[in-house]
Symmetry: C2
């Protein structure tokens, strides 16, 4: 049993190293990405979309060339456990999702995923064993078309210098940057000088 | 010259392997993350925030335990080239940013970053050489406080089954999932059955 070009054990190792823990959702995510790639024509360039920020983006980033930082992976958070790989220009693609109708055979996965058991009532070993045994059998596949313009991040365009904070920002954001326009995540800020 | 625990050359290798290309912004991002970590007390647990989705999230994911999928890295897109590492609970942290006032010494970096030259007019070798030579000298540091509740993603809470698509979704989203409520990124969708 492989996950893309890795053995199952190699993939678990990568998960632990990148993600920090053996998150069950990320192991299922490996099977999701593997199944999506099996439905794509070889040699074409694909972008990826995750319908949740939870776990799945890491499966895509571990197993494909798509990352958040290079813009080929988008998190479009509509709360479903699904990954879509789609052709960059036309948007034709494949969507793989965890199929609730198939959870019946795997009670430990069902109770974990649908939160029917509290964390301390779950049996982690049994959960991982069922995930490994189930493999692709939890999943279903759809052909989809996405609108790449709706999803992909826009080109930055010209760069301005914000008259308030003095930092470069996308000029399209207006007369000052979004931080200084009131969208700041900071409540306090103080210069501590420079390293040199 | 090191970037966190890697030599400069090792870091470039990781960048190429994870990100797909030697993006200048990601090399600068390595120095940004390195400088931020140098200002943090050792042994505490930190979350990360990138002020742009461009390049910087990959520097954080390569160099720290924070990833998109494990929730310790947030992209809070206000368009500035900055990374903040902050203490998970209290939100005290360090913000490192590319300082426009320091670009004067590095004309190739300045013209690339402020988009004063078209791509074909840029000298990529000289750009990378200046980035390596500049290292931390392009950057400035601030002490900040972020509001973790404003930034970190919310717990999923109870899971429902969407009556329209039949898939699990966060029950807090309402009577059906956000996809079926009109936020779908898809224009076409067709089942193609199951792998088994």
């Amino acid at each position: 049993m492989n996950i893309c070009t890795y053995t199952y054990e190699e993939y678990l190792h990568l998960v632990k190293s990148f993600h920090g823990s053996l998150a069950p959702g990320l192991i299922i995510g490996g099977f999701i990405v593997d199944l999506a790639l099996k439905h794509l024509p070889e040699g074409e360039l694909f972008d990826a979309l995750c319908e949740t920020p939870v776990c799945l983006p890491d499966a895509v980033q571990i197993l494909t060339p798509c990352t958040i930082g290079n813009g080929w992976l988008t998190v479009f958070d509509i709360g479903r456990f699904a990954v879509t790989m789609y052709e960059k220009k036309g948007g034709q693609g494949v969507r793989v999702f965890l199929d609730a109708k198939k959870l019946g055979n795997w009670p430990e996965i069902r109770d974990w995923y649908l939160k029917r058991k509290k964390k301390q009532e779950q049996n982690f070993e049994r959960l991982l064993a069922q995930i490994k045994e189930a493999g692709h059998d939890l999943l279903s596949v759809q052909r989809v078309r996405v609108e790449p313009e709706k999803i992909r991040r826009k080109k930055l365009g010209p760069v301005g210098i914000c008259p308030v904070c003095g930092e470069p920002y996308p000029a399209r954001d207006g007369e000052c940057c979004r931080n200084c326009r009131g969208e700041s995540p900071y409540t306090e800020i103080a210069d501590i000088g420079t390293p040199s």
